[in-house]
Symmetry: C2
């Protein structure tokens, strides 16, 4: 189970109910596709498993994708590090940074590799450029590309058309599912299936969150969203995640919140500013600013209850060094650091909540990601903006095109 | 050279001069030690080289340290990935996260390893706990620890005393150099020397920045600090770094700004909130919020001019895919994306500046890190706070001690 405890005052049920109805309408009317992805996974899993079962020689899957086309997969790769049922390695190319590109290409042997090119629009300049670089690096002939590549894109996009032209297998992202909400669509399911992650449990976790929210009317997400959207002085939202396994998830969270909620509304500029930290590490970095700096931040602590796999700090006594942590389980030390920081911030009267996962597995990850998607939709409704577009980044793309034409 | 161009209005020289005098006083009076580290490196380099030259069997250096004890080294490891003159691998343990700990320990063979335990105070609970875990993992006898460990700490700290007790070699961080300003002290120099990085060039770069600022009176740092500290509506400072090589540097920047400048001053709470992004990747994530969200952010673009080592995007023409980036050098594409984003943000009237490094080498990294240290000191003076302490994190440490005692 996922337990979310709010350490700030809840609002009246009446206010919350109005938003509960609106998000329910949004979910039911079908314009926003991500709400229902967990119900559509079975066919996709079957199709992915069938495809990859014919490619037993593949040892490395290289995913090429920007933003929503890779963020969710990267998050789950980090989270589910010891929960795979095959030993295919997943590598991710998510930038046009030349040193990462060459570092990844150097460790690949063509004959054991499968490249996934993901672009929802089918025209992302970084992705198309990297696709061409890979072709040239391995000196591939265009009529053999179908052996090494898979495309994931919208139906009828240019990438889909090119895929048909080149006889490359295409998987489709539903038109009404935005990139940053696409982790449970083909964008996430296909690469995760290929690499042996438990995608079924991931979708089940998402479904459990859907049920808790829409059927069992658990209002914790709405309460939190309402608090975030009405406390305008605290418009920086810190996610303090206690485990290195959350590194990719932190990036996914930042994309989801920043790109969904940073919007113009007439002359007004709205948005919540997400910041994501890793504990205990960042207690030695950002924490001082939260404690003593401007009170413009809310803080969510994210932790994992289960400590079974962690070692115990041995009972070694030194003449001059502290023995306070002797005999403590390393993961319990981490959680104690989380609790201590949480208490310290509560004492400063900051808005704090804690999300505790029972353990780190695909089911809990599915629940957690769906939780944050719902949370984002709720904030969007409360701010009165379009949560699902990203008009602000188009200007830069046009300027880039002009620069490249020169 | 490092070129910093400000795209916002400069302030009068008179105002700037007052702060120039104060920072000059601070530098000259000697209470703040980091200002002069670049002049003290020669002996330290000699001592480090002599020590490691007796340990030719060492193939992996494992640095254990939190916050300032590892951040700077991690930054330089990422930045100088292809600029080492030996093939010793540097691994960093900077968290009590059990999966990272076991992942790193699993890849180590004791007989070819040297562990560096860094703690300025000599009593960091995470570091002492990890030290004990390593001892137990390799089943070490206390009287053989001196073969495998080196300590870096303040003189007369408990870690130093224990080092003497166990005959472990100790290197010292000057008392008047704070953890987050310690990258050019033993905390950085020793591990970097051991692994064959060009530490001499790093210190020379820092010295060049010192000279530009204090001798040649280049006022760009003061102008930028003044703008940041007086535009209180824009108290979120985004560093948008265009290359994956800046990942560790981004974390170092966040620690430096957040922990130095987030301070109480009587009843007032002051501070700048640092956010660090990687381009072009985060154009698909955080950029939308900067473009359309609240105008509470300044943006610094950080880029590398030299594109010599990057491949060219091949001139492959597809029926349905764009050819606009064909023939473009991959690093030049990245820089064009940086320029396009910069122009788009300028058009929104946001405060923008650009730092361009001529190329990525130790000299430029030394210049860049010293630039940001000076910038932080200048901001601290302008905000009227103590830049060099971190009182806010002590409460959490006390609570943790109480939790562990139970």
């Amino acid at each position: 189970m996922l337990k979310n405890t709010l350490f700030f005052e809840k609002t009246s049920l009446e206010k919350i109910d109005a938003y509960a109805r609106r998000i329910n309408d949004e979910q039911e009317n079908g314009d926003v596709g991500y709400y229902h992805l967990h119900k559509m996974g079975a066919t996709l899993i079957e199709e992915s498993v069938e495809f990859i079962s014919q490619k037993t020689y593949v040892k490395k899957i290289i995913l090429v994708g920007m933003g929503g086309s890779s963020c969710g997969v990267k998050a789950l790769k980090d989270l589910l590090f010891d929960e795979k049922d095959n030993d295919r390695e997943l590598l991710i190319l998510d930038n046009t940074s030349s040193h990462s590109v060459s570092k990844i290409l150097k460790q690949i042997k063509l004959e054991e590799s499968l490249f996934i090119i993901t672009s929802k629009t089918g025209s992302t300049v970084e992705v198309i450029s990297l696709f061409k670089l890979i072709i040239a690096y391995f000196n591939l002939n265009l009529n053999e590309l179908h052996k090494y590549f898979v495309f994931i894109t919208d139906e009828n996009s240019n990438l889909h058309k090119e895929g048909e032209n080149l006889r490359i297998k295409c998987f489709f992202i539903p038109q009404n599912v935005g990139g940053r909400f696409s982790v449970l669509s083909a964008a996430g399911i296909v690469p995760l299936c290929f690499c042996g992650y438990n995608v079924k449990a991931l979708l089940d976790g998402a479904e459990a969150c859907f049920e808790d929210f829409f059927s069992h009317k658990n209002d914790v997400i709405l309460q939190k969203a309402y608090h975030y959207c009405t406390h305008k002085n605290a418009n920086i939202n810190v996610l303090f995640s206690y485990s290195d396994a959350f590194k990719g998830f932190n990036e996914w969270y930042i994309q989801l919140i920043a790109e969904s909620l940073g919007k113009k509304q007439g002359y007004k500029r709205l948005g919540l500013t997400p910041i994501a930290l890793i504990g205990a590490r960042d207690q030695h970095s950002f924490l001082q600013l939260i404690m003593d700096g401007p009170k413009n931040k809310t803080i969510t602590f994210l932790k994992i209850k289960d400590s079974q796999k962690a070692p115990f700090i041995p009972d070694i006594h030194f003449k001059f060094l502290d023995s306070l942590s002797n005999g403590v389980n390393l993961h319990e030390l981490l959680n104690a650091q989380c609790d201590a920081t949480m208490h310290a911030l509560c004492a400063e009267n900051l808005s704090v909540d804690v999300i505790e996962l029972e353990r780190l597995d695909a089911w809990h990850c599915g629940y957690l990601m769906y939780y944050y998607e719902l949370f984002t939709s709720a904030c969007g409704l409360m701010l009165g903006i379009n949560t699902y577009d990203q008009p602000g980044v188009e200007v830069g793309k046009l300027i880039l095109k002009n620069l490249l034409r020169k």
